[in-house]
Amino acid sequence: MSIFSIGVGGLNAAQMGIMTSGHNISNASTPGYSRQSISQGTNNAIVTGAGFVGQGVHVQTVKRTYDEYMAKQVLHAEAGASEMDSYTTQISQIDNLLADVSSGLSPALAGFFKGVQDVAANPSSIPGRQSMLSASSLLTERFHALDDKMTEVRLGVNSYIANYTKEINVYASQLADINQRIMIARTGISTQAPNDLLDKRDQMIKELNQLVRVTTVVQGEDVNVFFGKGQPLVVGAQYNTLVAMVSPEDQEKFVVGMIGEGSLPIAVPESQVSGGKLGGILAFRSQTLDKAQNYLGRVAVTIAQNFNDQHNLGMDLTGALGGDYFKVPPPNLKQNASNTGSGAPTVAFDTANMAYLSGSDYRLSFRSGQFQLLRLADAQAQTFASLPQTVDGIQIDLGDWVPNENDSFLIEPTRTGARNLGILLSDTRSIAAAAPIRTSTALINSGTGAIDAGVVVDTANPSFTNFNVTGQIAPPVLIQFDHPPTTYSLYDNTDPALPVLIQGNIAYTAGADVFPTASGLDYGYRIKISGVPASGDQFSVGGDITGIADNRNAMLLGALQTKSTMNASVNVGPTASYQSAYSQIVSFVGSKSSEVQAIGASQQTLADQSNSILQQVAGVNLDEEAANLLRYQQAYQASAKILSIATKIFDEILSLGR
């Protein structure tokens, strides 16, 4: 009888082998599928006097071939690769934009200064002035367009965060469910593994890991999943829900929040979330987008402020002092939602030190009676006992702020600089191409003394108070050389027929500034007399009324193009022009982009290699399965033969009785 059972056992085993091979063949391209194989064992032998007689075969288990260690390697590399992949997708949007020949800032910047130079060449020409105004609006439009794109990308980041957290939640809930099902499946037969469920769970972790880097810990039948620095996502059959929430510090940005004990989400610090698409998008925002947008804004506000400062020193075609040309966007100040104090500090640019703007954001917080200012770009902190303080080109004043402990404000000096840049001037005549003062040398002079054209340094000086009404500085100054001409006297020349002495006996040094005088008299402009004046020689300074062909201020405005006005450090002073500061953004974004692509490529290669090694072990080879099919087919045929022989033997026995 045992021959039959041996034959049947053989048949069953071969059948199971064929089924398993068939399962492998049909799942050859199922993602995450690990090949399965049967493991056969001999049945217990029967003890006879002749020894142990074998009783055939049975299938012990169907096992999956899997390499836990390699799978971890794959997870690690894939989290990196997908992080860099999403980073690259985002950064390439602004990378292409910035240096483009037609859409970048450079051509608009060059066009703008060409407009200024055209006015300098032809200060009284209205068409020239019109073209400068048009070039200015082109420049501001270009700043807006670049910023719009960045803002669009920023909003995109917010919606990505919302989508990714939703996807992560789906995976988390499914993983919790699978944990549960595996536990139930194992409850009956703890020795047999639910291979396909395990594959499914591993595949799910792999997909989740591409959204955010996770670590797994096996606990009994469960796999617990953590993300970031140990934030639990799935524990057994329980899972935590992530949400995209508005940052308490910056109401314009979404951060990842976790719904904990209560139903209120708590923000997960960005440094805690890394890897995967979510990590990539957060890293892109904090490392590249913030910096690029701040830097762009910094170029915008610096141009605007420098240009205004110089424009204020000029005189327009109507004979009035130059007004503000650009609207300079003020720094952003954002109140932390958890502040308990009242009021807010005020933040403004320190207009004389625009070159020191760093392009970083700052956090101003109040702790233990002191103000702490943290520069977020390099985490450098400064502590002040009181306000106001001037730091990096911004001036922080207490305003009406009544701070409580741990209250904080986020200061973004240049974030919206490009977005809110505007032009205040619309009348072509209001472009201040001329300088408001002019100097002259009296015809009676017999010496060789000469006075230069003068430079205006401060039109807020009282001597310019009535300029817009009278077109004259107060007072117009007459400089007369004494006898002997080693000294000179300053006269108020309001009535040229009757000059009134202001200050006398001032020692003459050829080529030295007349103002400020040794006693500190300063009228807001600088003039120099050189050469050898004779006694009685006269020089005068007055308002440049009707000086419509004067282009002195336009030339100074034009000179701003190549002047070093940005990136100042304390010991070196300004080191970059607007164009080089902009090129710096281009090279920063370009380098970052190429760096991210390179890291992404190497992570991808690593992931491909690990995957390939895992596939070597766990992947299905159709040729192998074909061979297995043949093998089990033959085993089946052979087992069938055993049955047929057993039947024949049985028939022989029966025929004996016939």
Partner: protein, 444 residues
């Protein structure tokens, strides 16, 4: 090594993708002719290219400015050249009019032409450029620089300059701001009269026939070092001698001087009538009167001398004053006045005319020199613009080359690369289709 069927397909797809991406990149490079498609291709050179582009644009801007400077300077030069020609003609007329043998009608016709020339010169001084701005009005481009007529000058009024002393400039190189205009003051008015150090004149009350020249300076430092520079040469005659001797004295007449009224020759107020002992020098017609102590005179040295010809009368005097500015209009006006006011046959009138024409010739020469000086300046500015233009052109070419090196594609290399990656892709495709066809299932 165990190979799974999935690996064969995955590896094939990855290889094909990689080759296609490479080909796409090369194709884009070839199609645009640019080596750097996005800054990430070469961040450093992409940023550098932007900066070089600005430098190139700035150079192009300078080129525009050079053209503007050239036309402005050329225009001024043309006007000044015409005024030079005018002054030559006026000088000829002055010489002609100074001829004492002319009749009153002849002189009037000379004066008539001078009036026409005067108007012509005024027209040049009020010339405008292509856009209607006055050339010689300084910053005040819309203000007519010189107002008034020749009759104003004759009435003793100046031709008033209504512009200012501003010099328009243009940036012609990173560091050079070139003057492209000269004020009317500098061109037509700030002209030293006399010999440039002092000017001479005769007293209107003179009754002799003495004529003074413009004087000459031997030692400019001595003249410049003087604190007080107003002197008179006063003539007196000792009638007691036979024949009467004409003396002259040099008097300090500067009201600021502590020794005002004193004679330089004696250091004391002059003694009149003169005697051989009273300290005055003896006058001889045509002999230089040097402003330097001689013999027992107290030490003084003004560094110059004048020449007086003719016979002065007692009480005649000539003044020596420091040079001041005298406009070319005023010089011509004075000449016209002198010609029109002269009476033929009247000796005194003829003496004044001789003096006045002499002064006019001196001052016309000064005006010519001044205009020549300014033309020389304009000429050197034009030369500078030209050489800057040349440098600029080279620089522009250089920037263009640098830019080309930074961002342009090496076509030979790109096409070679493209061909090679086409071969690579081809091989990848063929080998993939070969290996993927192998299956044991085909055999059983």
């Amino acid at each position: 090594m165990r190979v799974s069927t999935g690996m064969i397909f995955d590896a094939g797809v990855v290889a094909l993708n990689r080759q296609s991406a490479k080909m796409l990149h090369l194709q884009q490079q070839v199609a645009t002719g640019r080596r750097i498609l996005t800054p990430s291709d070469d961040p450093v050179n992409a940023a550098r290219a932007l900066e070089v582009t600005q430098s190139r644009d700035v150079v192009a801007q300078f080129k525009d400015n050079h053209n503007n400077a050239n036309s402005a300077l050329g225009l001024a030069e043309a006007q000044l050249s015409s005024s030079n020609d005018l002054l030559v003609r006026i000088r000829e007329l002055a010489v002609q009019g100074g001829n004492s043998s002319l009749t009153g009608d002849d002189r009037r016709s000379v004066a008539f032409e001078l009036r026409a020339r005067f108007e012509e010169l005024l027209g040049i001084a009020n010339a405008t450029d292509g856009s209607g701005n006055y050339i010689f009005s300084g910053y005040m481009g819309s203000t007519k620089p010189f107002g008034g007529t020749v009759d104003d000058t004759l009435a003793g009024n100046e031709i008033v300059y209504q512009g200012d002393d501003g010099q328009r400039r243009l940036q012609v190189s990173p560091t050079r701001y070139m003057e492209i205009s000269d004020s009317g003051n500098d061109v037509f008015k700030r002209i030293r009269n006399g010999n440039g150090y002092f000017s001479t004149d005769y007293a209107k009350t003179n009754s002799g026939t003495a004529v003074i020249d413009a004087g000459s300076i031997m030692d400019t430092t001595k003249w410049n070092a003087l604190a007080n520079r107003k002197f008179d040469i006063a003539f007196s005659i000792d009638d007691t001698a036979l024949p009467p001797v004409t003396y002259y004295d040099i008097l300090d007449v500067d009201p600021n001087s502590p020794t005002v009224g004193n004679s330089l020759l004696t250091g004391a107020p002059p003694v009149l009538p003169p005697t051989a002992q009273s300290g005055q020098r003896v006058y001889e017609s045509g002999q230089p009167i040097t402003f330097k102590s001689q013999g027992s005179e107290p030490a003084f040295d003004l560094g110059g001398s004048v020449l007086i010809n003719g016979d002065p009368a007692a009480g005649d005097s000539f003044s020596i004053r420091p040079s001041t500015s005298q406009s070319v209009f005023s010089t011509i006006g004075k000449l016209i006045g002198a010609l029109e006011g002269a009476t033929t046959g009247n000796e005194r009138s003829m003496t004044s005319l001789a003096n006045d024409v002499g002064f006019s010739l001196t001052n016309l020469d000064q005006a010519t020199d001044n205009i020549l000086r300014i033309r020389a300046q304009i000429g050197s500015r034009l030369g500078e613009v030209e050489s800057l233009s040349n440098v600029n052109e080279d620089l522009g070419l250089q920037y263009q080359q640098t830019l080309s090196q930074l961002q342009d594609l090496d076509y030979a290399k790109a096409i070679t690369d493209l061909t090679r990656s086409q071969t690579d892709l081809d091989a990848a495709q063929k080998s993939f289709s070969m290996i993927s066809r192998l299956s044991l299932f085909d055999k059983i």
